[in-house]
């Protein structure tokens, strides 16, 4: 077979891969068909890799094989991490994807140096800048999520101006390379400046804004791959990159809406300006209760909604919550979980943790579907969530979180909040929910408090 005929077979394999990519995403629409979606993706990827290994342009396989083995050696452990480590793993994989796209762009630049057109130079410049900044930005995000770096936002005066100037500098260097391609020394400087910008982009971002940032980095990683497809004239890369990029984009938009932030606010990295306004509130009286009292109230309820937040993940309370769900369900109480889109550190974080703890997914209800249920709910149990249940978002126009969609926990007949102390949440604002007459504060560690409640309920069940 001649090279042209082989090339046609390869193109055909890539077309099949592209179709399977789209089916994979389509089947992800429901948990029932989702596994089929993963399988479609795996077949597509396998097909594309095997086809590429048969490309007649390849002359040496040694380094390919070594690199594939190393890649598998890194990838398999990263696929086996604990579910609680999924947010940092995801950030790390965005870093790897962007690193890969940037490396290929840089290699293309040096290989094609003598014959690059200005247009191609522009494409490579853009691709390498986005790839590089996504690489370092994602590494910082992963470091924050792994708590190797402080989760709090690191901010200084004039930060946005400095950061945007650095981004501007790398774009100016790219433009300079298009106009004067002979100044090849500018290229590595452009790469370094873009890498620095990535660090500056994510450092000022606090932990609670991570769902938006991780989605945005996902989008950048996808678009850098699509741009690479333009550079290499590879349609399979363009499609995969566009799918990944639009996925990250859609998720960022959903996260922005769930925090009532504008999209430009996110794009320019103006996060974390909110929590500077810590209000010193005078001590107001709250009602607190013990595990025994909480168990009695829950046992008397007909309908209970549990509202988990990042605090649940930190305390690893999800397994105990499933026990609570099981025993209450057994005693005839209707239990569901209310999931706010930005609860946790990445989109869907709470769902995955609770699913791992064996909570049936039909008990996990989205914000818009569960909000009408609160007035008919006997007990709302808030565990490790704060700003997403703060009524100030709805009723106080001057609140830093004004307009943010919240779970209407305050409409339930009784509210119980498990919390370590009265410290305010991420936004640094007091939560009026805690001072309502119908609210009971359950002070303590989430996991041990829930297990205390479960123990009491078991005792009641054994006695009856």
């Amino acid at each position: 077979m001649n090279a042209a005929a082989i090339q046609q077979y390869l193109d055909f394999a890539y077309i099949i891969a592209v179709v399977l990519f789209m089916l994979a995403l389509k089947w992800l629409s429901s948990p029932v068909s989702a596994r089929r979606g993963v399988l479609a993706g795996e077949i597509a990827a396998g097909l594309a890799v095997v086809a590429t290994l048969n490309n007649p342009e390849l002359v040496a396989y040694k380094w390919i094989v070594i690199a594939l083995i190393i890649g598998a050696g890194i990838g398999i452990p990263l696929g086996m991490v604990k579910i609680t480590a999924v947010p940092q793993r995801t950030a790390l994989s965005h870093a790897f994807g962007a690193l890969s796209a940037a490396m290929i762009g840089i290699a293309e630049y040096y290989v094609g140096l003598s014959h690059l057109s200005r247009f191609e130079m522009g494409e490579i410049g853009m691709e390498v800048i986005i790839g590089s900044l996504t690489f370092t930005g994602s590494l910082i995000a992963a470091g924050k999520l792994q708590e190797l770096l402080p989760q709090r936002p690191i901010v200084y005066k004039g930060q946005n101006i400095v950061s945007l100037s650095v981004l501007g500098a790398s774009v100016v260097l790219a433009v300079a390379l298009v106009v004067h391609p002979e100044h090849t020394a500018l290229f590595p400087i452009m790469v370094i400046v873009a890498l620095v910008f990535g660090v500056m982009l994510v450092t000022p971002i606090g932990g609670a804004d991570m769902p938006t940032v991780i989605s945005l980095l996902n989008s950048y990683a996808g678009f850098s791959a699509a741009l690479l497809g333009f550079v290499l004239n590879s349609k399979v890369l363009i499609v995969a990159g566009a799918l990944d990029g639009s996925s990250g984009f859609v998720l960022s938009v959903i996260m922005c809406r769930a925090m009532n932030r504008s999209f430009s606010n996110v794009l320019f990295g103006a996060f974390g300006t909110v929590q500077t306004s810590v209000k010193q509130s005078t001590a107001r009286p709250v009602r607190s209760a013990s595990a025994e009292e909480a168990a009695e109230i829950l046992d008397a309820a007909r309908k209970v909604i549990i509202v988990p937040g990042y605090g649940m993940a930190v305390a690893q309370a999800q397994h105990k919550l499933r026990e609570l769900h099981d025993i209450l369900t057994k005693r005839g109480v209707e239990v569901s979980f209310a999931i706010h889109p930005v609860a946790g550190r990445m989109p869907g974080h709470m769902n995955v943790l609770l699913a791992e703890a064996d909570v049936p997914y039909d008990r996990l209800v989205e914000m818009d579907d569960i909000n009408p249920e609160f007035p008919r709910t006997d007990v709302a149990l808030v565990i490790g969530a704060n700003d997403v249940v703060n009524p100030a978002a709805r009723f106080e126009k001057n609140s830093p979180i004004a307009g943010m969609p919240i779970l209407n926990v305050f409409e339930a007949q009784t509210v119980m909040v498990i919390k370590r102390s009265m410290n305010p949440g991420f936004a640094g604002i007091d939560n009026d929910l805690y001072y309502l007459d119908k609210t009971l504060m359950l002070f303590g560690d989430a996991k041990s408090f829930v297990s205390g409640i479960v123990k009491e309920l078991n005792a009641v069940a054994a006695g009856s």
């Binding site: 995403l25 389509k26 992800l28 629409s29 948990p31 989702a34 596994r35 993963v38 993706g41 594309a48 890799v49 086809a51 390849l58 040496a60 380094w63 390919i64 690199a67 890649g71 598998a72 990838g75 398999i76 696929g79 579910i83 999924v86 793993r89 995801t90 994989s93 790897f96 994807g97 490396m103 290929i104 290699a107 040096y110 290989v111 057109s117 247009f119 996902n218 791959a225 699509a226 497809g229 333009f230 399979v236 890369l237 499609v239 990159g241 566009a242 799918l243 990944d244 990029g245 639009s246 996925s247 984009f249 999931i339 990445m346 869907g348 769902n351 699913a355 791992e356 064996d358 049936p360």
Partner: protein, 98 residues
Amino acid sequence: MPADFISNLYVFILAGFVGFELIKRVSPLLHTPLMSLTNALDAIVVVAAIIITGRHETALSTTLGAIAVAASFSNMVGGFFITDRMIRMFKSGKAKKS
């Protein structure tokens, strides 16, 4: 503007729209697996990395290519692996009882 660019732009815009419509339909339950799955699909850049490495043009291009192969292939393997693990955890109440 090269002719290739125009046809690539068509592909990009169409794929972007398809992606947008497909992602909107993904259940919010599965947003975490969605992210790891699209990440694994995005790791298809490994095909470009393989070609750069295997052409063996300069020491630099082979080195950069090999780094890219390792980085993207780790995403491919790890991404599918963890997505499948997460999706298997999602059980409905009915399936659990049976």
